[in-house]
Assembly symmetry: C2
Homo-oligomer: 290 residues x 2
C-alpha cells in the first residue's frame, strides 16, 4: 500500500457515529487535515466537541447524517453496532464506507453478516490505544501517536476501502498498521489487551487485609493496577465476545503462575531462575522489536 502515500491527497469529509472517547479522539486526530461531522445521541458531547474544534459540525438526526456522509467511522460498543445496523440497515448506500473500530472482531463480524445488510461496505479495524476514561471530554489524540492499528483482512473488502482505512490511520498518527485476519486479531488481543485487564482487576481483588495499602506500594503495583478502572459496559462486550481465546489465554497464564508456585514450594532454584531468564530474554526481544 506504500505507493498510495505518493498519490495526491484530498481533504475528506468524514462522519463519526458515536462521539465517546475513541470517536472523539479519532475526530480530534483527523479534524486537522479533514472535515469531521459527528452524530451522537448526546447533544452535550456534540456541542462540547464543536466548541473545542474537535469536530467541524454535527447532526442530531441519523437520516440526514447518513445522507451527508460517505466515509463513516462507527465508534460504538459492539452490542450497539448490532443495534445500530438493525435500525438503519436500509438507509445505507453502496457508495458509503463504514470503518468499525472496536476491540473484538470475529463474533462481531459474524453478527453483522447475519443481518444481511444491503449495500454495506465495512472495514473492521482496531486502534490499539485507549485511556481509563470514557467520553469525548477525555479525547486526547496524543494516545494515537506511534501506536498500533490493526485492519481486518476480509476477502470481501475491496483494496480501495482497505487503503482508505490505512491512510486515515496514518493521518491519525498510528505507526504500525497491520493487516490480519479476525481470528489472528482476536487471539493476540485476548493476550495483549484483554488478559492484561483481567490481571489488573484480579490483582486488585486478591488482597483483603485491613492495612493501608497505599503505604506499601511502589511503581510496580501502581503500574499493574492502573487499568483496573475499567469501563464495565464496554469490557463486558469485549470479554464475552472473545471468550474462547480469552479463556485459553487465562489458562496459559495460570500455567505460568503454577510453575512459579511449584518451583518455590520445591526450592527448585534452577528452574525458578530459568523462568526468570526466559522472561527477561523474551521481554528484551520485545523491547528490541519496538
Amino acid at each position: 500500500m506504500i505507493e498510495l502515500f505518493s498519490k495526491k491527497r484530498y481533504v475528506m469529509k468524514i462522519g463519526i457515529i458515536g462521539l465517546g472517547l475513541i470517536g472523539g479522539t479519532i475526530a480530534k486526530a483527523l479534524n486537522k487535515k479533514h472535515s469531521i461531522i459527528a452524530y451522537d445521541i448526546d447533544k452535550n458531547s456534540l456541542e462540547y466537541a464543536k466548541k473545542e474544534a474537535i469536530i467541524e459540525d454535527y447532526y442530531l438526526d441519523i437520516d440526514t447524517f447518513l445522507k451527508q456522509n460517505s466515509i463513516i467511522y462507527l465508534c460504538l460498543y459492539p452490542h450497539q453496532i448490532i443495534d445500530f445496523f438493525k435500525v438503519n440497515k436500509n438507509k445505507i448506500t453502496p457508495n458509503q464506507l463504514f470503518i468499525e473500530i472496536s476491540g473484538i472482531k470475529k463474533v462481531l463480524i459474524e453478527q453483522v453478516n447475519s443481518l444481511n445488510i444491503p449495500n454495506l461496505n465495512i472495514v473492521y479495524s482496531h486502534p490499539i490505544a485507549g485511556r481509563e476514561k470514557s467520553g469525548v471530554f477525555y479525547s486526547d489524540d496524543q494516545i494515537f501517536k506511534g501506536a498500533n492499528y490493526a485492519i481486518i483482512d476480509q476477502q470481501k473488502n475491496n483494496s480501495e476501502d482497505l487503503d482508505t482505512a490505512f491512510i486515515l490511520a496514518k493521518d491519525m498518527g498510528f505507526k504500525n498498521i497491520s493487516l490480519v485476519t479476525a481470528e489472528e486479531h482476536d487471539e493476540v488481543i485476548a493476550y495483549t489487551s484483554q488478559l492484561t485487564h483481567i490481571i489488573s482487576m484480579s490483582l486488585v481483588n486478591s488482597f483483603d487485609k485491613n492495612i493501608n495499602l497505599t503505604h506499601f506500594t511502589g511503581d510496580s503495583y501502581r503500574d499493574l493496577t492502573r487499568i483496573a478502572d475499567i469501563n464495565i459496559s464496554l469490557w463486558t462486550d469485549l470479554f464475552t465476545q472473545n471468550k474462547e481465546y480469552l479463556i485459553k489465554q487465562i489458562s496459559s497464564f495460570q500455567k505460568q503462575l503454577e510453575y512459579f508456585k511449584e518451583y518455590l514450594e520445591d526450592d527448585d532454584i534452577e528452574n525458578l531462575q530459568n523462568i526468570m531468564k526466559n522472561a527477561f530474554i523474551k521481554h528484551q526481544n520485545y523491547l528490541k522489536d519496538r
Copy 2:
C-alpha cells in the same frame, strides 16, 4: 517521632556498604545534607560515585571503613548480608548502628539473629522504590520522592535508633514511613511487590505465537511487562526467603483469575460484572487514599 523534627539537626557522617542501585541512590539522596562514605568491592563504582559527587569518599578496606563509621547502611542482597556478618561479626562496636534496606525481613532477621553477633545494633527497613536496572550508574534519588518506606518494629531496637532511620528516610525524600512487624511487612510486600513481578514475568512467558507482538500492544501490555526485566540474583533471594507468604498470594490471585474464567465459561454476566465493579471500587479507594 514527630517532635524529633524540631530538634536541632546535625550533619551526620554516614557509611554505605554496597554501592549498587539502592546504595547509590541512598548516597545520592543523603549526600546533599550529610557526608557519605562508601565501601564496595567494585572500585569502578566507588570512583564513579566520587567523581559524580554521589559520595564524599570511599574506603576499599572494610576494617578501616568500619572503624570510621557509626551509622552504616547495609545495601547488600539478603544472602550477602549473612556472608558479610559471618566474616565481620567481631569487628562491630556497640556504638555503631546498621540500617538494613532489603525487600524481605522475617527470614533474614532470623538468619542474622542466629549468628549471635556481639554488639550488633541493627534497624531493618525497606525503601519501597526501585528501578529495573542495577548498579550505582543508574542511581536516581527522584525515585524516593514521595515514595513509601517501611521500618521494622523489633522489640530489641532502642527508640533512638528507630528515630535515626526514620529521620534519614525523611531526608531521602520518602513520604509515608510506616512502622510494622517483619511479618506484616513480608505479607504485604509479597502482594504489592513480589506478586506483581511474578505476574509480569508470567505474562511475558505465557504467549508463544509466531507473531510480531510489538504491532499489537498498547499501554496496558507495556505497563504490565515493564518489570519483567528482573535482577535474577536479587529476586531469587527475595522470592525464596518469602516463599510462604508469596505462595499464599499467588494462590489468592489464581482464585480471582479462576472466577473470571468460570463466569466467562458460564456466560454469567452478572457475576462477571460484579467482580469488575469490585475491582473498580477497590482501586478507586486505593487512589483516594494515596
